[in-house]
Symmetry: C2
Subunit: 199 residues, 2 copies
Amino acid sequence: MSGAVHEIAERSGVGFPLKAGQRLTVIDPRGCQVADLLAFNAADLGEVLSSGRTLDYAETIRLTTGHKLYSNRSNVMLEIVEDSVGVHDFLLTPCSYATFDHFYPDLPRHRGCFGNLAEALAPYGVVPDQIPVAFNCFMNVPVDAGGRLSVLPPVSRAGDRIVFVAAMDLVIGLTACSAPASNGGSFKPIHYRVEDAAA
Amino acid sequence: MSGAVHEIAERSGVGFPLKAGQRLTVIDPRGCQVADLLAFNAADLGEVLSSGRTLDYAETIRLTTGHKLYSNRSNVMLEIVEDSVGVHDFLLTPCSYATFDHFYPDLPRHRGCFGNLAEALAPYGVVPDQIPVAFNCFMNVPVDAGGRLSVLPPVSRAGDRIVFVAAMDLVIGLTACSAPASNGGSFKPIHYRVEDAAA
């Protein structure tokens, strides 16, 4: 791999392979922008990123450097090895036509991260019903003492990043999130880079 | 439906149909016992209970009377119409061989709710990889201000219950949970009752 930086245009998404041992760097180039991340076992798409397994093993909803992201089969898919922000979400599913209808009935509908991920992952054989809770890089979802959750603007600033190392061969889905509240009211691109372990 | 009370033996699980409009009452007969609940669209098993959609729409992790449980397609599957406890979990996946290996390496392995649900739902065509985060009735998983989660004994007392009404024809999976920490260190049965809307 070249390690070149790729841009995901605002309100869009991409799918790409990530080999075991490769590093994936997700960059918020302008700040205050969410990127939804999904991972599937490239050899068997029935194995997919699992918020429930990951939160159980991590014993926290605040995942950062040193935490591992697990699959529905309790295998490690990704490990977070660097993180300049420390505020990400792993509770919520990707935004979609239905979430736009619910939260933004007066705005034009958008297929959201869900639709973008479904299209980007279709060439790999992923069907929409398989899309689970995403690891939402830079998404700021505090939970108060009564359990109430809020979707606040990300605290990430221009150039902030989170870096993952793949523990198995993966198919990755990654977006520049499309929902107004999640991104402080404006839509920005996301950058990412894939590097070999030796890079 | 007779409305008879059925018992789920300790550390086991069942699968059964629940028609649109029917009421499902889940009872903790002795107190301090968790029941993992799953729901699939009976007409299309690709549609399944979704913690991420539900938490997003509810804007809380503390679901109780009046809250609706949504599918991965953003359709309402179940509504909570009564709840004598108010403390349930919708963050964690069912316990399994792997979670026993992780949390209880010195105890005999158990297939847990995951294995029990997989067996109970197999006759309906559900495959293990489709098992998502369950709605864990009576499970007590507080999240502190720093995001750290704990699995504490349920606060449910003998006879406590939570009642759901089905919004579509469903296949339900339901267990008497098998993990020591989740159940205050002992394993008890769970009772449930299905009633027609007119009952």
